[in-house]
Amino acid sequence: MAYKAIVIGSSAGGLIALKTIILGLRKDFMLPIIIVQHISPHSDSFMARYFNQISPLHVKEADEREPVRSGHVYLAPPNFHLLVEEDQTLSLSVEEKVNFSRPSIDILFETASYVWGKHLIGIILTGANNDGASGLEKIARAGGLAIIQSPESAEVPIMPMSAMDHCPTALILPLNDIPDYLNKINQ
């Protein structure tokens, strides 16, 4: 398979967008998915629990030093940055916010790109800031596949538009087409 992992960044409106994607994936979807959803630092881990209940995939909040496994979906814990290590494990950091965000999409995308290079898919979804734009650009430059939710299909189009500015070669897809696109890649 050409691709080894998927990273997703989403912000305002992300809960519904992520739900559309996660529920739209085949139940034997193999590629590991790692997600940064901007979320209040004080929130608990309800999102991972919720997605895990409604999806056949294993959805969980990422633990430090956890190996990335196929068939699993990992969410960054509130108030921690999520990074990918060279040995394909996950690590956490409490360093300063990046783009006013912790977790930051840029940090996840950048470190994932170092590890998977052209075997990585990066997806930017709905949001009201510009986190993830430069990370997505890095993924594309390393030969990975950059996908952006079309601004028209986004609850808040600012993040997709900012990613399009940074990464003009990215594939623009309406939200509802993204899961099928990924399902085809997974075959």
């Binding site: 633990d63 430090e64 030093r65 814990p77 921690f80 990074l83 990918v84 290590e85 060279e86 690590s91 956490l92 950091s93 409490v94 360093e95 300063e96 940090i107 950048e110 470190t111 170092y114 590890v115 290079g117 052209k118 430059r141 390393a142 030969g143």
Partner: protein, 290 residues
Amino acid sequence: MIQNDEHDQNKANLTQNIEIELFIEAIFRCHGYDFRNYNKAHIKRRLLFRLSALGLKSISELQHKVLHEADFFDIVLKDLSINVTEMYRDPSFYAGLRKEVVPLLKTYPFIKIWHAGCATGEEVYSFAILLKEEGLYDRAQIYATDFNPLVLETAKKGIYPINRIKEYTSNYQMAGGLNSFSDYYFARYDAVIFNQDLKKNIVFAEHNLATDSVFAEVNLIICRNVLIYFNKELQNKVIRLFTDSLTKGGFLGLGSKENLMFTEMVDQYVVIDAKEKIYKKKVSDNKYGL
């Protein structure tokens, strides 16, 4: 064309990884700081950030600087040690200590406490206030250590920017604070200065968890958001150091995403509060640890 570009990118990435290993070796041999068992992704980000801030092209150039320029290592150490902290980070952790650990500490005539990786000291003052309110401060000896001497200077002063005090006050209340938070500091211009008497029993000292050894026998160790930067091997080594430093029945408090259960020393402890990551070193080897 695009193919070549990709190829170059991936090759540059591999070269960078080699350079980072050499860089880490260089600072260990030249400055004694051992980052060899730290998570690399975060180190790489930090070094690349420094690289672009200085307008340099390769990590080898950084290595040259760190070997030949006397002051440059201070900057590198600052880059590599994430010193971000706050007062009563995770208020429920402090509430947990108050409820589950303090009652036992009260049964001792004298207690020793170690904050490992205390950064600029906010965590230390937070807990010192709690000890005061519980009537434990006067019989406590507090060690607050970090491997970065610059943050310890700030910690010793106990002066912090005033703009975060609102957040800290609400954290203090959620942590079960008994008084008015403003009793413990006075405001001056854009800073707050914590009361001198909070410092009386605190010793701030340099200590490197990766390379230094046991320096005291203590009843409670608080080490939060430090182990997340270490690989498994170093995590195990540090937990061993903690186990050797704790009295029988002594307590260990870790960060909210750190877990003793994944380390080699798990058998030596009982879980006091799984969510708040509070553990107790067993008193004896029987299966109840009592």
